[in-house]
Subunit: 251 residues, 2 copies
């Protein structure tokens, strides 16, 4: 099995290295990832600038290709220009921090896997639901299981898996899995209004995820209960239910 | 009716000015838009940099607020920090070039309207399906009609309208409207591999939309027939059909 790995925390992050080390046990792995952190880039692609690609080393060995682009750029570049043949799977992660609910719209991690799915490849986004003392071992060993299952059982075209792993090391927590839906909780954001040393105003986005209204069958609820959440997601955004009503509007 | 306008072509583009001039006839309009073109940014938000906001003038008069952020940033900033009360509607556009099919995942125009919908405001993305000698008059006059209808009839929470207008001036083309679904045609992309003046390799993304397989009830098919396409879209990405099958997988 040939596996492409990308992420949005950058090629030198711990999460992508843990994923690489784990998936090498079950396949041939190519890493193409942003040269620096590019979080919250959504499904951005780079049109107005050239893209640079450089070989990256970790622990003294060739590790992969660092690009000046977004996760979606990385997957396009890997498949169109870097890899000799199309990979059998695309993994994006392991992200530092959860990607659940409407936050997946902003997620570079999810967008890397989305680009894989758009190019017809079974794709998985994987995130660790903590920022504090992250232990990627549980997520990494689950990624191996998931790669094997998804390779054997296939995913429907256009569908990818969005996986969120609760915090905690692999050894102490059982792999309890919930198949979930995307929660409808909203990011409660606000802006800090500040003044720079030159007297000019600037704004800084801050806020938190409102988790209190998460439905019991949702990604947020599963992770809060310490379970691994797998949400199958797809990218036909049409609101089919509203099509008929809209046909009765007058224009 | 209070209307917020944003776009991704930048505050000095022709399309946003045409939309502003038209919507002023039916409401109080606030413009908050990127200070330069920020196309294909997807649903990116700016977390790692401060955001700047400056007043922008056009034709010698105050026009709106130019920000250093993406369309999603602009809508958040407008609603959280700039406007005194929440607007009744958010418009994003008029974009130079169509936003249809899977391309809407990359679209800053659509993401501006998405952010409005996420914040609970009826929102509309509007794009003109040409890059050549654009005439925004048809799109602008249709935006006025749509604002009036949507204000009166409301949109379901979480649903926005993605509108694409075929090329051609308002006076010569009848407003034939199709309610459509997002087409599943893919962007056929490739990379130009080039060498810079210093002997270094760089890549430039290029390609075209593959329109030949668009279903008859899709956005692409409607615009190809010279009709205005309105696709209702929503942002629960869960693939509900696949949830049950996934529950039978072993992990």
């Amino acid at each position: 099995m040939e596996i492409l790995i990308t992420n949005d925390d950058g090629i030198y992050s711990e999460g992508i290295f843990a994923l690489y080390a784990a998936l090498r046990k079950v396949g041939k792995v190519t890493v193409v990832a942003p040269d620096i952190q590019r979080s919250a880039v959504g499904h951005a692609i780079t049109l107005t600038d050239p893209l640079r690609v450089n070989e990256a080393r970790r622990r003294g060995k060739f590790f992969g290709y660092a690009t000046s682009g977004t996760p979606a750029d990385c997957v396009k570049l890997a498949i169109r220009s870097i890899m000799k043949k199309k990979p059998d799977m695309v993994f994006s992660g392991i992200n530092l921090g959860a990607n659940m609910g409407y936050n997946i719209l902003y997620s570079g991690t999810v967008s890397g896997a989305t680009e894989g799915a758009l190019l017809g490849i079974p794709s998985i986004a994987i995130s660790l639901a903590t920022f504090v003392k992250p232990d990627f071992s549980r997520a990494a060993s689950f990624a191996v299981k998931l790669a094997t299952s998804a390779y054997k059982r296939r995913l429907p075209p256009g569908t990818l898996l969005n996986v969120n792993i609760p915090a905690g090391p692999a050894s102490r927590v059982k792999n309890a899995v919930s198949i979930t839906r995307q929660s409808h909780t909203l990011f409660k954001d606000r802006f800090d209004r500040r003044t720079d040393p030159h007297g000019q105003t600037y704004y800084w986005l801050t806020g938190s995820l409102d988790q209190k209204d998460a439905a019991p069958d949702s990604d947020v609820a599963a992770v809060c209960r310490g379970r691994i959440s797998i949400t199958p997601i797809q990218f036909d955004l049409t609101d089919y239910k509203f099509v008929t009503e809209l046909e009765n509007w007058e224009f």
